[in-house]
């Protein structure tokens, strides 16, 4: 018989390094829809932390934050991009829609990032943890930071 590869019999798990189950896609979807891109980025970063791969995923989250910052910057400098006027001259702003759409796109990207881990949970029947506290915190942080940043941008320009 061939020798067993040594690295296979090196212990991988310890009480400290144990990964935790991640929050469900349903919770992520709702948070992305209601809280927008920044909230879902924070929420997904929590999932990465639970999987012990936050450092690896960090560039993707920075890119996500960049997308949201870009939308906010355009909102301040080019507001007409988010406005549609009807025949009566009434203008409707679609900024919130754009933030939500970006949130859903980011949610899709983050889901893809962790899709293997979601499939593992499906095949092993591992339940998802309760998302309420984490999602609530990310929602408040996401909305709060976006409002603060938007005001700061308006004040600067």
């Amino acid at each position: 018989m061939d020798k067993i590869p040594n690295d296979l019999l090196e212990p991988t798990l310890s009480a400290e390094s144990a990964t935790k189950p991640i929050y469900s896609t349903q919770a992520g979807f709702l948070l992305a829809f209601l809280g927008g891109g920044l909230a879902i980025t924070f929420f997904s970063a929590l999932n990465s932390e639970r999987l012990g791969r936050l450092v690896r995923d960090l560039p993707v989250y920075l890119l996500g934050i960049g997308v949201i910052a870009g939308i906010m910057y355009l909102r301040v400098t080019q507001p007409h991009l988010f406005e549609i006027s009807d025949e009566d001259g009434k203008t409707t702003s679609y900024y919130i829609v754009a933030v939500r759409a970006a949130g859903l796109l980011l949610w899709g990207s983050y889901y893809w990032l962790h899709s293997k881990h979601y499939r593992v949970m499906a095949v092993t029947g591992t339940p998802h943890p309760s998302p309420w506290l984490a999602a609530g915190g990310c929602y408040l942080a996401g909305i709060g930071i976006m409002n603060f940043a938007l005001r700061a941008m308006v004040a600067q320009l």
């Binding site: 018989m1 067993i4 590869p5 296979l8 019999l9 212990p11 991988t12 798990l13 310890s14 009480a15 144990a18 990964t19 896609t25 349903q26 979807f29 829809f33 999987l51 549609i84 009807d86 025949e87 409707t92 679609y94 829609v97 939500r100 759409a101 859903l104 949610w107 899709g108 889901y111 293997k116 881990h117 499939r119 593992v120 499906a122 095949v123 092993t124 029947g125 591992t126």
Partner: protein
């Protein structure tokens, strides 16, 4: 672990063989009576104590089972079946680091046992160490290409890497060799449900229910899939077919619809159309859980 028989520790004592026979056939009442008599004569016999632990484990008394297993291992540290049971107890209690330690020691002592590699692979899968799970599954298949556990671990690792059942050769091998195995069927149902092929998944789960009518997990699976296939949920087809991406797409369509509606001849109907869309959204959120509860009765 639950499927594993305790026969590994049966030694050549006729009465112990009788006990093994009863335990294997899950005739636990008779087994406990016999075990009580035998333990009165040989209270420190590791094999007898192991059977006690095995019955406790099977009858869902993990603390008692753990206590007895530890006693067995203090009397005979190399007792193979007790060590396997100890792994199962740690694993089920989600003490994964301890479970891994027991398993590594077992593999070192039994390096050609493919089942041990397969179990280690499943442990790595459960703890999200996908690369190592894959390597261990490959090792298990290399040692025993036809072993059910090895094929299962390998099929699950392949599914996690690429969910397409058509390219999962290990899953195809598993189905070909063990078409009636509960684990094969559950794996196939999970794969089909993931690909949103709910009709085929329901048919398979009903087969499974016929074979295991008392298994609560199987009953829950059938109910969940029946809900997915119910005629009254047909209007939710975009979400059923494309999942959350379908919901997101639908939202984009609705936002687009209400953005252009005022500029179309349908503008006077904006109110009723909004009411229909709102009703649809409420129905998509509220109705499926209600149907799920109704089907469970």
């Amino acid at each position: 672990m639950k499927d594993e028989g305790p026969e590994g520790s049966a030694r050549s004592v006729p009465v112990t063989s009788q006990l093994a026979y009863l335990v294997e056939r899950q005739r636990f009442a008779e087994a406990k009576r016999l075990l009580g008599n035998l333990l009165a004569e040989r209270p420190e016999d590791p094999d007898l104590l192991f059977y006690g632990a095995y019955i406790d484990h099977f009858e869902k008394r993990p603390e008692q089972a753990m206590e007895t297993v530890q006693k067995v291992l203090s009397l005979d540290p190399h007792h193979e079946s007790a060590r396997r049971l100890l792994f199962g107890l740690h694993n089920e209690a989600r003490r994964f680091a301890e479970a891994e330690r027991v398993l590594i020691d077992l593999i070192k002592d039994y390096p050609e046992d493919a089942d041990l590699y397969a179990q280690y692979s499943m442990l790595m899968l459960e703890t999200q160490h996908l690369e190592k799970a894959q390597k261990l599954a490959e090792e298990a298949v290399r040692l025993a290409p036809d072993d059910e556990q090895a094929l299962l671990a390998s099929a699950l690792c392949a599914f996690v890497a690429d969910p397409s059942p058509e390219t999962n050769h290990r899953l195809q091998e598993l189905i070909r060799r063990y078409p009636d195995s509960m684990r094969t069927l559950i794996t196939m149902i999970v794969v089909l449900a993931d690909r949103r092929r709910h009709k085929e998944a329901l048919l398979l789960s009903q087969e499974l229910l016929r074979a295991y009518p008392d298994n609560e997990d199987v009953v829950n699976l059938v109910v969940a899939l029946k809900v997915q296939n119910h005629w009254s949920l047909k209007p939710l087809w975009p979400m059923q077919r494309f999942g959350w991406a379908g919901s997101a797409g639908l939202w984009v369509v609705i936002v687009g619809l209400f953005a252009v509606l005022p500029r179309t001849p349908l503008a006077p109907w904006e109110g009723p159309i909004f009411a229909v869309v709102l009703t649809y959204i409420v129905y998509s959120w509220v109705y499926p859980p209600i149907l799920n509860r109704l089907m469970r009765r």
